[in-house]
Assembly symmetry: C2
Homo-oligomer: 390 residues x 2
């Protein structure tokens, strides 16, 4: 199923012509506050603003455009519950090709709906991704439809590589490029284009999460580079670093608050590598935001977590007398310290409390870490026993 | 303090030259899912991606660029706890002019910090905006610094009008433009440019919130058009409509989820007017997203509310036996209906419960309204008494 030929600069230049009018040339933004945080000029390539919300349409359009007439007539098949499936569905509709997307049975309904809304047939098959893949390959075999792999395909890689050509035009001064690595097609394609056109730049790949457990950066965590992509990355990357979920949460929150951009976990990994200094190099740096398809309920959790880490939420447990006025007294003290209480929870059961005492858990919006510490110190000084939860 | 001359197309064209290299030419995005929802092609002008996160830098740069040398030397003063203050601070730094920003004493620290980070001096003066304004005007009088009004100023209005020139270039096919109206400078400037270059288009202004009470769209709710801007709007707008907070919440959530853009309340009002059909007209329509400066803790509340309205959260109260296994039974039923439980709260006190009974409040992530109804029906069928809270 996988091709083992590596795309050339010419392949990528041809891809650029093919995808013009389908994929967007995405904008690049400088960010003052991110630059200040990181200590070097930071440019963000906003591929989250790409059609379908991720870079994958580039490879999908390039692949589908190069199919012969009889292949187009037979349609395409993919196995994906994510961005690749949506991108192929979208590209197929644009090019008048029928697409069938296989997903695991427990795929989130939002993703199934999005894929259907782009006009693809969806098949929920198998307990996990591997089972869905087996079914998809069998169906392709049966029907003569073309199976489109997400990254082990030179034409797909060439499509993703068009980002590299845009970067060369958009950021002539930048010396370091930080790219997320999942299956590796994105980073491989961009690296080929950059090495050919700007040989001396530093190119860093970023992987996220641990194998075998869930992560916020699900788009890159569940995948490993393939043979083809890994061979390219080993040759062309200067470094391959890892970031943790915690670091990605902070990056997502920062991008949202400062750059006004919604970015999914995998899409924020590059910024996490900058914030932690793992990206290395010096001078102006470009972080690729690969996609923005994050479930809003997950985004809420990530933001709450990111804000807590940044000292913008304080979650603190204390004990007060179980009598009229005691809670008011506590809350007045918090207000005097200019903390904005967003939730108050009382706990009276299952704990080693004195009779006539109640436990209270407060969630307070704060300015930053220092403000959290000041607020805690003020409570402590007034004799409130404190257990800080976040 | 206010000038009463109305800017001309020539003023706006000159402003465009002055702000080039400072303000960004912001991108325009089509949105498939928004277009489907609204039933007509929708283009979004993403002024939330403007420098400092809002359109205000256009007017600020234009105004400060036109000051004479001695005026520049004396510096500028503004009264604003929001986008205008940040924009003038940023423009002043870029142009090497000193800026002082007056804010009410209770201005959010995040806004004070942002303004300071752009290099302005900040003065916290007075209980509310009006008091801060009085202090700012007095200081300008004393020091000879130039007071820069947010909208009652023809040079500021001409700066905001540059968006209109960009729209003419970017969206030659669009027949309806929907613009937020706060102080009115933005809509007035754009309307002058559009009427001059594309006289036949429909231009709709959108106001949000009620006078005298807080609103999510604080950027446009606390302001009223001035004399100069109102005179322009009365002549040039085809319609002026109102949207409610509820509608703005939904628009913010939709922009975040589908367009991957963070937009503040005032910035989403135009999309709210489209979603509710209040904008009127037919054919392709452009909604101006005026800014993205929303506090992330507020954004979390807005998203939770927006998702609840859209049926993506179900908050439901029921009663179960206060005995081992009862909660598991309830949660298994919810899981079987593919609801994803995000919080479980027990209430045992202060309620008319039978002995041996406990009240449980569940928050469940759901797909849509239909899914909420199905889940409720399943619980009802199994005999759980239900009170739906969201």
């Amino acid at each position: 199923m996988a091709t083992t030929t590596r795309p050339t600069l010419t392949d990528i230049e041809q891809a650029r012509e093919r995808i013009a009018g389908y994929a967007r040339v995405t904008p690049v933004y400088g960010s003052d506050s991110l630059s200040r945080r990181v200590g070097r000029r930071v440019a963000l390539k906003a591929e989250n603003l790409q059609r379908t919300g991720a870079f994958k349409v580039r490879g999908a359009v390039n692949k589908l455009s190069t199919l012969a007439a009889e292949q187009r007539a037979a349609g395409v098949i993919v196995a994906s519950a994510g961005n690749h499936g949506q991108a192929v569905a979208w590209a197929a509709r644009e090019l008048g090709i029928s697409a069938t997307v296989f997903m695991p049975q427990d795929a989130p309904m939002a993703k199934v709906d999005a894929t259907r809304n782009y006009g693809a047939a969806t098949v929920l098959a198998g307990a996990g991704f591997d089972e869905a893949l087996v079914e998809a390959l069998a169906r392709a075999e049966e029907t003569g439809a073309t199976f489109v792999h997400a990254f082990e395909d030179e034409t797909v890689i060439a499509g993703q590589g068009t980002i590299g050509l845009e970067l060369v035009d958009e950021l002539p001064e930048v010396g370091t490029f930080v790219l997320p690595v999942g299956g590796g097609g994105l980073a491989a394609g961009i690296a080929i284009a950059l090495r050919a056109r700007r040989p001396g730049v530093r190119i860093v790949g970023v992987q996220a999460g641990k194998t075998g457990r869930g992560t916020i950066a699900d788009g890159i965590a569940v995948k490993h580079p393939g043979e083809l992509t890994m061979a390219i990355l080993e040759e062309l990357l200067d470094d391959l670093v890892h970031v943790e979920d915690e670091e990605i949460c902070e990056a997502i929150t920062l991008l949202l608050e400062r750059a006004k951009l919604v970015v999914e976990g995998a899409g924020a990994a590059s910024v996490a590598a900058l914030l932690t200094g793992k990206a290395g190099g010096d001078g102006e740096v470009c972080a690729l935001l690969s996609g923005g398809n994050i479930d809003p309920t997950l985004l809420i959790s990530v933001m709450r977590h990111g804000l807590t880490v940044a000292g913008r939420y304080l979650v603190v447990r204390t004990r007060i007398a179980d009598s009229p006025g005691a809670l008011v007294e506590l809350l007045e003290l918090v207000a005097a310290e200019r903390g904005n209480v967003v939730s108050v929870e009382h706990h009276r059961e299952g704990m080693a409390l004195h009779v006539g005492e109640t436990e209270v858990e407060l969630t307070v919006v704060t300015r930053n870490d220092d403000h959290c510490s000041e607020l805690c110190a003020a409570l402590d000084q007034r004799g409130y026993p404190l257990e800080r939860l976040g």
